[in-house]
């Protein structure tokens, strides 16, 4: 492997990961070995970020760095009752991964049109599918954040979805990532590759859940390659154990006229960060990033995104709402980058935070970087309590104070949920979020 130098204070924590990589034996093809080495080098170079790093100012990942190094070498369970989880009643293709390993017996793959391939990544790696070599690791850059490199070095499996030109995957594809290990520091690094060629259509649900109250670590990376005029919806539901650590990166590369919408729901994990990088590489792309985080106790939910307008005439929108309770913390970091060529860009961003407790905090960091002169870019961030005018409006119609409060809190979540296009997914998440809010004693009573 390549030699690397890292800062001394980071060395200690990154050390076990680097040392283990040398002992990490696999039957990878040469190109993958070199990809993994680049990943490891990238991780070694960056090390675990600290709050001195501008991009990690509000999110301290030291608890992850201090976890014992425990890569899962085999899943602790091969069959798990799945009924308890969301989206299980959904008529869909489902790939289930336990602790990062594919569980074929729990998975269902509906018949698909010719030119659609839905399977696990390890399967296509072993059968030498050329598309994997062509795309894997080409988009998610190991210098974007250290966890991408770590994932690239250590991933075992994940989903491979390929939709060839003009094909439509009618039913959603549900990727269920399940953690079952109670061992502290037990880590899985799911890796997904999703290729939707021109004029194709695809809906993907990615959920991260657990059967245990474990202090485990999930570090997922998903690369999307979205062709011309393709329509793709991605819905990520992070509902990890309340003690877990969750890092995830989605890298989307969009071609002209692509219509992409992504939803990120964060309800679980003690500490979570979702990194979304979108590259708008053709004209007339529609890109919507939508998200909701609900936090309580001492949870932290961080959403970090870069929307890169690299072509003219594209529209992008980010809508992120957070409902924060107890001592919890919500972080939003939205960077809009408009390249000189990207004239007629229309980029909008809003982040709204509702604090249900005086001890909750929200950090919003919008960042506009505009190098073109004929663009429309707006951003807005709010942090606060429920709107007094809205409460009065509802009360003036006969609705009691407590019901009015509850209605408005639900509506704060509802405006995000309403953007989900797939009706079955929208209805299910609507119910989930409704129930979670109703369970909260501070909803309606403060």
């Amino acid at each position: 492997m390549e030699t690397t130098t890292i800062a001394p204070e980071q060395m200690k924590e990154a050390d076990p990961y680097i040392a283990a990589f040398d002992r990490f034996e696999r039957n990878d093809p040469a190109w993958l070995t070199s990809l993994r080495e680049r990943g490891m080098a990238g991780f070694a170079e960056l090390g675990f970020p600290t709050t001195r790093d501008e991009d990690w100012r509000f999110t301290n990942v030291a608890p992850i760095a201090k976890l014992p190094f425990q890569p899962v070498t085999e899943p602790s369970a091969t069959t798990v009752p799945l009924k308890q989880f969301n989206f299980m009643a959904l008529e869909c293709t489902r790939l289930v991964f336990i602790d990062g390993y594919f569980a074929p017996k729990l998975s269902t793959i509906l018949p698909q049109p010719k030119g659609v391939r839905i399977t696990n990544l390890a399967a296509v790696l072993s059968d030498g599918e050329p598309l994997v070599q062509k795309h894997l690791g080409r988009y998610a850059r190991v210098d974007a954040n250290p966890f991408i490199g770590l994932n690239t070095a250590y991933f075992q499996d994940g989903a491979f979805l390929y939709v060839s030109a003009g094909q439509v995957v009618e039913k959603p594809v549900h990727l269920l990532f399940l953690s079952t290990s109670e061992e502290r520091g037990s880590a899985s690094h799911p890796r997904n590759l999703i290729v939707a060629e021109r004029d194709s259509r695809l809906t993907v649900i990615e959920s991260h859940v657990s059967t245990v109250q474990g202090e485990y670590f999930t570090n997922a990376v998903t690369e999307f390659v979205i062709g011309e005029h393709a329509v793709v919806e991605h819905c990520k539901f992070q509902d990890e154990s309340p003690l877990a650590y969750h890092m995830a990166t989605q890298q989307m590369n969009l071609s002209k006229q692509a219509d992409f919408i992504s939803h990120s729901f964060a309800t679980g994990a003690k500490l979570s960060r979702n990194n979304i990088y979108t590259h708008l590489g053709g004209e007339h792309i529609e890109c919507v990033l939508n998200g909701l985080y609900l936090t309580k106790d001492d949870q932290l939910a961080d959403h970090y995104m870069i929307v890169e307008h690299a072509s003219p005439h594209c529209n992008s929108h980010e809508y992120f709402n957070g409902i924060l309770d107890d001592r919890s913390k919500g972080v939003f970091h939205g960077r809009i980058l408009v390249r000189p060529i990207a004239q007629k860009t229309d980029a909008k961003q809003t982040n709204k935070n509702l604090l249900l407790s005086d001890n909750a905090t929200a950090n919003a960091k919008p960042q506009l970087e505009i190098y073109a002169d004929d663009v429309k870019c707006t951003h807005g961030a709010t942090v606060g309590q429920l709107n007094k005018d809205s409460i009065f409006y509802l009360r003036a119609r006969g609705i009691g104070l407590e019901t009015a409060r509850r209605m408005l809190i639900h509506s704060f979540a509802g405006e995000i949920i309403d953007r989900i296009r797939c009706e079955a997914v929208r209805e299910e998440l609507d119910q989930v979020i409704w129930d979670r809010l109703e369970e909260n004693p501070h909803v309606g009573s403060k």
Binding site: A396, R397, G398, T403, L408, H410, A413, E415
Partner: protein, 252 residues
């Protein structure tokens, strides 16, 4: 129905209403006209129960009860309705859900059974026609993305569904084109009954061409300085509010 006696009220240390008297009986339509800053919206807000106003003196009786003691929702359930000058957008709250909840709170208060979804829908469909609202209206979030005219029509639509005893229309005409104004006025007129009353607050006489008041009051500097029949509105339109300020000393 409504009796306001010697009401003195203000906000943030500023006196706005300075001894206002107003009596409205069932079956009557009253108009309160006045220039900007005369206290029109303060009057509406105080009747509906908006927070933040200091009531320094006087009383407001609604059907003999002390209105100022009641929470806003209690007033609404007792039949007081405010058509807002600036209806609030509530994205994420579905219009059907909102209005059904409101109606059922009022019905519960009156000892009536709550309406289920079907009963509610058949009731509102009829009322929607009166206000010429589109079918998809009920599926949209409350006022979210509505045009100014749609918001005002929505206020009157809610009034039609909730059937208040005392409706206060706070500058409902502002921002409406003439066609929307006619639809709104027609809606209001159809809701007039011998057992309810309406208080129309406006800056301009225009709306009163379509909603004919029984009594017109002129509010000036926190007091009713003149009351009369519908001709008073026309006179005011012709001569302007300056005319009133010159006759400021004339008691109501």
């Amino acid at each position: 129905m409504l009796e306001i006696r010697n009401l003195h009220a203000g906000v943030e240390g500023r006196d706005i209403l300075k001894g206002l008297d107003l009596t409205i009986n069932a079956g009557e339509v009253h108009a309160v006209m006045g220039p900007n800053g005369s206290g029109k919206s303060t009057l509406a807000a105080i009747i509906a129960g908006r927070e933040g106003y200091d009531i320094r003196q006087g009383e407001v009786l609604y059907n003999g009860k002390d209105l100022l003691e009641m929470d806003p929702e209690e007033r609404a359930r007792e039949g007081v309705f405010l058509a807002f000058q600036y209806p609030v957008e509530i994205p994420g709250v579905n219009s059907t859900y909102f209005l059904k909840a409101a109606l059922n709170e009022i019905r519960k208060h009156n000892g009536e059974s709550e309406l289920d979804a079907l009963e509610f829908l058949s009731l509102v469909k009829e009322k929607m026609k009166i206000l010429e609202l589109r079918e998809d209206f009920l599926k949209r979030p409350v006022n979210a993305g509505f045009s100014g005219g749609e918001k005002k029509r929505n206020e009157i639509f809610q009034m039609a569904v909730l059937e208040p005893k005392l409706a206060i229309l706070d500058e409902t005409d502002s921002g409406l084109d003439i066609d929307a104004l006619k639809i709104v006025a027609e809606g209001v007129n159809r809701l007039k009954r011998p057992d309810n009353a309406q208080l129309v607050i406006t800056h301009y006489q225009r709306l009163l061409n379509y909603i004919i008041p029984d009594v017109v009051h002129v509010l000036y500097d926190g007091r009713i300085v003149r009351s009369g029949g519908k001709e008073l509105a026309l006179e005011l339109e012709e001569k302007g509010y300056d005319w009133i300020s010159k006759h400021d000393a004339v008691p109501a």
